[in-house]
Amino acid sequence: MFETFQILNEDGEIVNKDAMPELSDDQLKELMRRMVYTRILDQRSIALNRQGRLGFYAPTAGQEASQLGSQFALEKDDFLLPGYRDVPQLIWQGLPLYQAFLFSKGHFHGNQMPEDLQALSPQIIIGAQYVQTAGVALGMKKRGAKTVAVTYTGDGGTSQGDFYEGINFAGAYKAPAIFVVQNNGFAISVPRELQTNAKTLAQKAVAAGIEGIQVDGMDVLAVYAATKHARDRAVAGEGPTLIETLTYRYGPHTMSGDDPTRYRSEEMDNEWEKKDPLVRFRKFLESKKLWSEEEENQVIEEAKEDIKQAIKDAEKYPKQKVTDLIGNMFEELPSHLQEQMEEYKEKESK
């Protein structure tokens, strides 16, 4: 029970032919393109953060298969409830890059999801996205929509009450939800073993009476297949699924002063680098003659160009005013805010 589901091993070989998802050559290449792009985005985001051109940033390198393999299984109208590290899923689901940068810098426009993107902005309160997902999914079920609500948390997040309540509510209502736990081994400095005595995090699904899957989170095909399976079940009315992805973050917890050398050994980093989702998928695609160094360099250049433009766009976006913030509080401003609005309008006009 709860054995790790894997399709592609570290050498890029298919070890589970039966489970191989039906993906066209173009889709396989697109997956690789997105993973490379996102790795570059991570490198550039860290650099931009160090230059003070970005604010809050939670590194993603190592989690590309987990984040993008799962997002790749979604449809356009599925609803995304990301955690604070899940900006890449938002971007590939349709959030413009400059807005992702504005989110990092702390500008409300970064959270103004485009009308055709069904998503909330990254959730900072660990677990809150889980109870909200149960509600989104129940809403979809009541509307008779053939869509799903998808959310993400980390290994530490599985200790929260909202984590259990979220999966339990979705289970009780048989709501079309996919709950992803990205187990990267550490919650800041606390190892996953300190969160729970449970052998897997996937088995926590048992407490809600729902299906749980543990998947190799460095294997993009396995993550895609597990998410696709969960999505098919959900839209067929069979209820939610909990997916645990075994993954790793090569960088620190966030760029806000965390130093992973305090709690992680070099050996551990090296061991996980051998499992790099890009390396094994590259090998797989090369063996099928679907990927070349030239193509990869092209993606890298494209990513760098996009990022350059997006950070420019973010930096020239109009600065926030207090009157903007007041204006976003309510549909109709209550009297005390009307009063303060007048006060700040006058200040801003000086």
Partner: protein
């Protein structure tokens, strides 16, 4: 017109809105088949079906999250928290999430949610059922907090709350649920949120209050009339935002004020009312604005409610201090 208790008026408001708007959903612990622990949702599931009025697992935080998620799908959730003492379990969903959603998404999402919850003392409930915690939610930007004191207002304010496109916390005082009946129109009507009501006109002192204390103020005012003191009684009805204009207008007329709440002195919203008066009408005051509140202890063990809860005698005493300042 029909004679209704406050609980009947509340049920009637929900029935009205369930009928008017198919997006209205009523849910919580035991609100379905059981009709609610106070019968506030009695008959609603039979009339509107399990899809509209339904029970939830026993988890307040989950109920909050459910409301938020349903609101993103275009529903108009009216969740119930069985007793407001249990709000601590759902503080994040209320204050950390739904209150902030319109702002944090720059208007992309909004939360037309009405959280109904009973509270209030005088009926010998067990621990953490009667606590007055309106002060906590009144401090959260993005929320409106409504506390009716009569059946008529309960219906009109609840309909307004449900139609509001931003989150409203609707607190129902348990002692007022069935304490008296009043004429309540059977048709729909609204009472504006954020507007106080002058329950009794007077010229010597302004009593500002809400919830069950409104009735204590009225009782005190009647008693004081015999001694020649004319008290004006203002029922705030909405404790966040408070209706500053009505308060200031009254204080400018009477030149004296006492703010009355059931909550402890360090809690509630009385301090806010005092601040607004001193900021806006200090030159009209003949005496400091005093407060009638419960003592700053944990809510009383039920057998001690009588000596602990503020009552009309405390109000008379405080008014005398203000009159003789």
């Amino acid at each position: 017109m029909a004679q209704m208790t406050m609980i009947q008026a509340i049920t009637d408001a929900m029935r009205t809105e369930l009928k008017n708007d198919e997006n209205v959903l009523v849910f919580g612990e035991d609100v379905g088949k059981n009709g609610g622990v106070f019968r506030a949702t009695e008959g609603l599931q039979d009339e509107f079906g399990e899809d509209r009025v339904f029970d939830t697992p026993l988890a307040e935080s989950g109920i909050g999250g459910l409301s938020i998620g349903l609101a993103t799908q275009g529903f108009r959730p009216v969740p119930e928290i069985q007793f407001f003492g249990f709000v601590y379990e759902v503080m994040d969903s209320i204050s950390g999430q739904m209150a902030r959603m319109r702002y944090r998404s720059g208007g992309r999402w909004h939360m037309p949610i009405t959280v109904r919850s009973p509270f209030g003392g005088g009926v010998h409930t067990p621990e953490l059922h009667a606590d007055s915690l309106e002060g906590l939610v009144a401090q959260q930007p993005g929320l409106k907090v409504v506390i009716p004191s009569t059946p008529y207002e309960a219906k009109g304010l609840l309909i307004s709350a449900i139609r509001d496109n931003d989150p409203v916390i609707f607190l129902e005082h348990m002692k007022l649920y069935r304490s008296f009946r009043e004429e309540v129109p059977e048709e729909e009507y609204t009472v504006e949120i954020g507007k106080a009501d002058v329950k009794r006109e007077g010229t010597d002192v302004t009593l500002i209050s809400y919830g069950a204390m409104v009735h204590s103020c009225l009782k005190a005012a009647e008693e004081m009339e015999k001694d020649g003191i004319s008290a004006e009684v203002i029922d705030l009805r909405t404790v966040s935002p408070i209706d500053i204009d009505t308060i200031i207008e009254s204080v400018k007329k009477t030149n004296r004020a006492v703010v009355v709440q059931e909550a402890q002195k360090q809690a509630g919203i009385a301090a806010n009312v005092v601040s607004e008066i001193q900021e806006r009408a200090i030159l009209h005051l003949e005496a400091p604005v005093l407060r009638v509140t419960a003592p700053d202890t944990v809510y009383a063990f039920s057998d001690a409610e009588e000596v602990w809860l503020p009552n009309h005698k405390d109000i008379v005493e405080k008014v005398n201090t203000v009159m003789n300042f």
